[in-house]
Point group: C2
């Protein structure tokens, strides 16, 4: 998930002011190897500067509504966020029952399934989330 995106440009394209905090949120997510909780994003930004959590929540929410980020609903109470730019197309995720860690999977099988699920029942579907759960290799080794 290391990044190729031009964040300032991305924001400008949304007609949104480019601020240090908004950039920080995108940079933290761009540098992360996996989807992050709001809390984690907050802490990573705080390693460099002072921020209020409300601001971060509001930015995450705004970006998600604009389609710059995807919010993943997982088994734990807190959602995860990941970049939704052209370099990070939608893909399934794997969550370990044991450690709770969520990893990103390859998008391949999604494409095939999408066609089948997109139009059922008269709904207009525009998003599909796939979460595969089980026990990850690290946790298997430990036990």
């Amino acid at each position: 998930m290391s990044d190729l995106c031009d964040f300032p440009r991305l924001l400008a394209g949304q007609g949104v002011k480019v601020t240090a905090l908004r950039l920080a949120v995108l940079e933290v997510l761009g540098a992360a190897p996996r989807a992050l909780r709001a809390q984690e994003i907050l802490e990573m930004i705080r390693a460099r500067r002072r921020v209020n959590k409300v601001t971060v929540y509001r930015i995450l929410d705004d970006f998600t509504r604009r389609g710059l980020l995807r919010r993943l609903a997982v088994e734990d109470r807190a959602s995860l966020y990941e970049l939704a730019c052209e370099h990070h197309p939608p893909h399934p995720h794997f969550q370990c029952h044991h450690c709770g860690q969520v990893q990103c999977l390859e998008p391949a099988p999604l494409e095939r399934m999408w066609a089948e699920l997109k139009g059922p029942l008269g709904n207009r579907a525009d998003r599909i989330d796939i979460r595969v759960a089980g026990v990850c290799h690290k946790c298997r080794e430990m036990s």
Copy 2:
């Protein structure tokens, strides 16, 4: 989702005492046409008798761990619960962005995909959740 299951037998099979409350939880879920929030289950049981929410949460948690129920992580803060008995095999779900309503979809495409996603990266996967999101037909009509 109306029911064919013998709940007392189901509980007995788990070596779990058959109590009025545990049955009530299963009956409410068995009668529901869709997955329910803990709050909804609580209210439905309260239409008939007195219950403490903690008890219901504990029963839901216990049943989920035993595999009698599935817990669905959705976009809203509260999870949904549905029966996981032989008559209700795992299936994808559709959630409407507008009203938040979650409906159950047919299991068909799941089977095909499962084989592909089950074993990647050395993880032992034992569950796959698919959530399709968009705008449901009711909400489309309204707007």
